[in-house]
């Protein structure tokens, strides 16, 4: 369980997050949605200790993320930010192998090699494992990062806009793979996501943010209502039932 307790963060004089309280339960996929500048990425960064909050505490499995040793936390929680432009030239396999660093500090054993192979297989990357990252397409590279995160084998997986730079086909397959990870491997996945329809179709819980505050939290059925979404995004949105799913229409 991730407990977000009264978190505030400000840059100079403007609040990016203001007294945020929320609880993300174990298991399933939680999507964080909201307009630009709502503080979604900031919140994700604070949960994953990439940023330090000005006030408040985040606890993951009762561990305060600000004070728990970073290497211990790395075995509970993993995070992938949206921009990943590396200047280093690593092969896919080498990158994924770093997912095992929290456990073996670089001295890989046979168990690690097995897990690396599994993670590569899970994201259909086995054939590319000896390619350098800069020789891959954007979609393949994004999958390699996710494979590394899975290889880190943590209970909690935090992803900041994992669909960025992916086309339709790859977006769908990415979400399916995350769904599979949640269902089969029992991961707790937390996403920041822009496309509310992906959030509606694939998540168990939606957390809606606006102006640095959590304004709604509930199941997709609770949140995917015209009045609620219009309140969040300040634009006319209709909800249609398509193939049994709530789909927002806002064009």
């Amino acid at each position: 369980m991730i407990e977000i307790d009264n978190i505030s963060k400000q840059y100079q004089t403007t609040f990016v997050l203001k007294n945020v309280n929320a609880t993300i339960t174990k298991g399933g996929i939680t999507s964080i949605i909201g307009p630009n500048g709502a503080g979604k990425s900031t919140l994700l960064s604070i949960i994953s200790r990439l940023l330090i909050a000005d006030e408040g505490v985040v606890r993951v499995n009762n561990l305060d993320v600000a004070t728990t040793p970073s290497d211990k936390l790395a075995t509970y929680l993993s995070v992938l930010r949206q921009e990943n432009r590396y200047t280093s030239r690593l092969t896919v396999q080498e990158l994924v192998g770093f997912g095992r660093y929290p456990y073996t500090k670089g001295r890989l054993n046979s168990d690690d090699h097995r897990r690396i192979a599994e993670a590569l297989d899970y994201l259909n990357l086995t054939e590319f494992k000896d390619r350098f990252l800069d020789e891959l397409s954007g979609g393949q590279r994004q999958r390699a990062y996710v494979a590394m995160i899975l290889c880190q084998d943590t209970e909690y997986v935090l992803l900041d806009e994992p669909l960025n730079n992916l086309d339709m086909k790859h977006s769908v397959s990415m979400m399916k793979q995350l769904r599979k990870a949640a269902d089969e491997l029992g991961k707790t996945v937390v996403l920041v996501i822009h496309d509310i329809n992906f959030a509606s179709v694939y998540s168990d819980t939606i957390l809606a943010m606006k102006k640095g505050e959590v304004v709604y939290q509930g199941t997709p059925d609770d949140i995917m209502r015209s009045s609620i979404l219009e309140d969040i995004f300040d634009t006319p949105i209709k909800i249609e039932q398509v193939c049994g799913q709530n789909i927002a229409v806002y064009y």
């Binding site: 990439l50 970073s70 936390l73 200047t87 280093s88 690593l90 660093y101 670089g106």
Partner: protein
């Protein structure tokens, strides 16, 4: 296959080392070493130290260039290009002015401290840059280096020390003798230390967020890297002088060939760096025999050409 290449590379470097041992103003053959005690003495007092110094300085400067590239996540920086060695020279000048009689050890410490401060300054400025172009960072570094060396030159001129400072900086191995190069063993130790921390540097090279995610103490690695860069820069400037471009071209070439998993590529970088400096030194000693042309002059030409080729590659990559 790769290990075969590696053996070939080691043999090449050994070959270069042997050539370096047996060429020079005094004529020495392996047979003389057996028979003549005098020649043996000269051999171990000047030829061996020189060759060892070349290998150590070359590989250390390459490794410190690599570390700097990883810590700044920028492929086009290296200690002689961004103010590290220029700051070390400034430190050296300060010692020449205020404590001319100080031991070479204390000179080295002060030079390293200055190198550290200069590198830190560069890193702080480059942090401020919201990256629009990766070349921006090295460009600022180059100018920072120019400004620092303008300060150094100004005061060197004022204290009438320009000549002796030039002598220190010239990247010249001809003055390397037994008793004057032993500090370079320290550089060898630092290079080894860097090899042991290879994984940490690889991870740091992937950025702060990446490092924190897998539980690496990013600040500590940054500090460690900075210290290694500054110490290597300081010691090499004091003992040998400036070796331009080395830290830039060697890691880049190795990266193109073998990638950036530092643990695997570190031996390659040491070999390349040491071998290149050996080769340049051999050229410098033979091209205008019996006079010597300092390694830094040869490296300046070779390095600049290789750098331009790398830049050209980048142009087509964009």
């Amino acid at each position: 296959m790769k290990s075969l290449y590696f053996i070939a590379a080691i043999l090449t470097v050994i070959g270069l080392a042997v050539i370096s041992l047996f060429i020079g103003a005094g004529h020495i053959t392996p047979a003389d070493l057996y028979s003549n005690e005098n020649i043996r003495d000269i051999f171990f007092a000047s030829r061996v130290p020189r060759t060892v110094a070349l290998l150590f300085a070359g590989s250390a400067m390459s490794v410190s260039g690599l570390i700097m590239q990883l810590l700044t996540q920028n492929r086009f920086v290296e200690p002689t290009l961004v103010g590290t060695t220029q700051s070390a020279s400034l430190g050296l000048l300060v010692m020449m002015v205020f404590a001319p009689a100080a031991s070479i050890m204390s000179k080295m410490v002060v030079a390293s401290l200055f190198a550290m401060a200069g590198t830190l300054l560069f890193m702080l400025i480059s942090r401020k840059i919201v990256l629009k172009s990766t070349l921006m960072v090295p460009l600022i570094g180059i100018m920072l280096g120019a400004v620092i060396s303008a300060i150094t030159t100004f005061f060197a001129m004022y204290f009438d020390l320009l000549q002796s400072l030039g002598g220190w900086e010239s990247g010249d191995f001809s003055g390397i003798l037994r008793g004057r190069y032993e500090l370079l063993w320290l550089v060898g130790g630092l290079t080894l230390l860097a090899c042991f921390c290879a994984d940490q540097f690889t991870i740091a090279g992937l950025g702060r967020d990446f490092s924190i995610n897998i539980g690496l103490n990013y600040r500590r690695v940054m500090l460690l890297g900075l210290t290694v860069i500054a110490l290597i820069g300081g010691i090499v400037v004091v003992v040998v002088g400036v070796l331009p471009f080395l830290g830039l071209i060697v890691p880049n070439i190795v990266s193109l060939l073998f990638g950036d998993n530092i643990r695997k590529t570190m031996p390659w970088i040491c070999l390349f760096g040491g071998g290149l400096v050996l080769l340049c030194d051999i050229i410098g000693r033979t091209i205008r025999y019996p006079f010597e042309i300092p390694v830094s002059v040869i490296l300046g030409v070779v390095g600049a050409v290789l750098f331009l080729i790398l830049l050209n590659r980048k142009r087509y990559a964009n």
